[in-house]
Point group: C2
Chain length 218, copies 2
DNA sequence: AGGTTCAGAAATTTCGACAATATGAAAAAT
DNA sequence: ATTTTTCATATTGTCGAAATTTCTGAACCT
């Protein structure tokens, strides 16, 4: 779920990185927490070197901040960070959507419809029982947004979007815990977005996606 | 205070990463070269673990590809990669310029003018003696583009631009060695860009920057 | 000839222990 | 009160080595 698509083979380093990534996203490791290698080893296992490598990885991804001679800490999560991530996500995903609409074929549309089908089920479930289906919903949402980008033809843009989405997850899950997410509006936006995409209505699709991300962080 | 303060403190890992980064950019480590830890240690020094960490860093930056259980290789550099990087750079830098023109004050303009002054000197030098002043020119060019982005207010956008510029450097220096860079045109574009920026002519500035990047990779 | 199998070599990944260095805070001195 | 010194703690880097995986190439079979 929190893995990266790069290579499916799992090394210890990647496993550790994934666990820490998850715990940061879920808020179990709050922003600015000092990440002491020895403590982490007690929690997750692994050797000191493997952990350094894992944290180095996360630091380039943006979830961890590394300072020379002062170790690692969970990246801070300020209002400015949220705004930066949101603004950028809107721009990047719209760019991806625009390119994808130029290159995407029917199979691309099909993949989006399929992902949206899963997502709408998750949306129904999460409206009924927010706490129980939050993760399922977040994953379906990730998949949906990823499918849209998939046909843009730019691996670097896709990777950047994944990074931003990963960074935004912390804020999204926090908002979710506080019941600050308007699922109904998000659901409507997703449905209309799919409609605009299959209708090849470029302008409308871009506007919906942009407003959707800026408005709800979803 | 504002952006992420990249601590200039040098650890062994960062030094190693910097050296490898440079040698990849300069083509001394050609694309797809296998990066065997033991060989690298003989060349640069450092311990095996430090090198693993350095290469992990570079792999997230995009200059090195890591495959589980199969070690590290210099990232391949195909025509598709060049096109991807160029397209993205144009979009990202234009976005940065647009935001910077909204937020940038007179000091921002001053920094650009200063950087352009240095750059134009380097451009004069590189026209006379391409091989001798290539690096100076590339560095001045980097600084110039970085200054433009500086006022955009998005640390993540700035970092992404730096990554893309770093990735494009390989292609740029290769083109330079083959004498395929049109310095005169690039110089004109830079000069006109500065003029449009200080005149606050948003539309013209964006068009010049976009055409400039797409046209010359500079 | 062409392909397969399999043992040995080489490389990667991981781990533990230890030394060197830097940081942060308490203690001492001015 | 401010500065300096000291010291415990944490980070960083090195060495050595074991476990695992991949690569290589020779022998074998069809």
């Amino acid at each position: 779920m929190f893995g990266r698509a790069k290579s499916d083979a799992a090394t210890v380093v990647r496993l550790l990185a994934e666990q820490v990534r998850r715990d940061i996203s879920f808020g179990e490791l709050p922003p600015d927490t000092k990440l002491k290698i020895d403590d982490l080893r007690g929690r997750y296992g692994g050797s000191a070197h493997s952990f350094r490598e894992a944290l180095t990885l996360l630091s380039v991804e943006g979830l961890v901040e590394a300072t020379a001679q002062r170790g690692f800490r969970v990246a801070s999560a300020t209002q400015a960070d949220l705004e930066d991530i949101t603004r950028l996500r809107a721009e990047i995903e719209c760019l991806g959507l625009e390119w994808a609409m130029q290159r995407g074929d029917v199979r691309w549309e099909g993949a989006i419809i399929a992902a949206h089908h899963t997502l709408s089920k998750a949306e129904d479930a999460v409206v009924e029982d927010p706490d129980g289906h939050a993760l399922e919903w977040d994953e379906a949402n990730r998949e949906f947004h990823a499918r849209i980008m998939a046909a843009c033809g730019s691996p670097r843009l896709i990777e950047f979007q994944e990074q931003l989405f990963q960074q935004s997850r912390r804020f999204r899950l926090a908002a979710l815990r506080e019941g600050k997410i308007d699922y109904a509006r998000s659901r409507d936006a997703h449905a209309e977005l799919v409609k605009a995409i299959v209708a090849r209505d470029r302008k409308t699709a871009l506007k919906i996606l942009s407003d959707h991300i800026r408005g709800s962080l979803v």
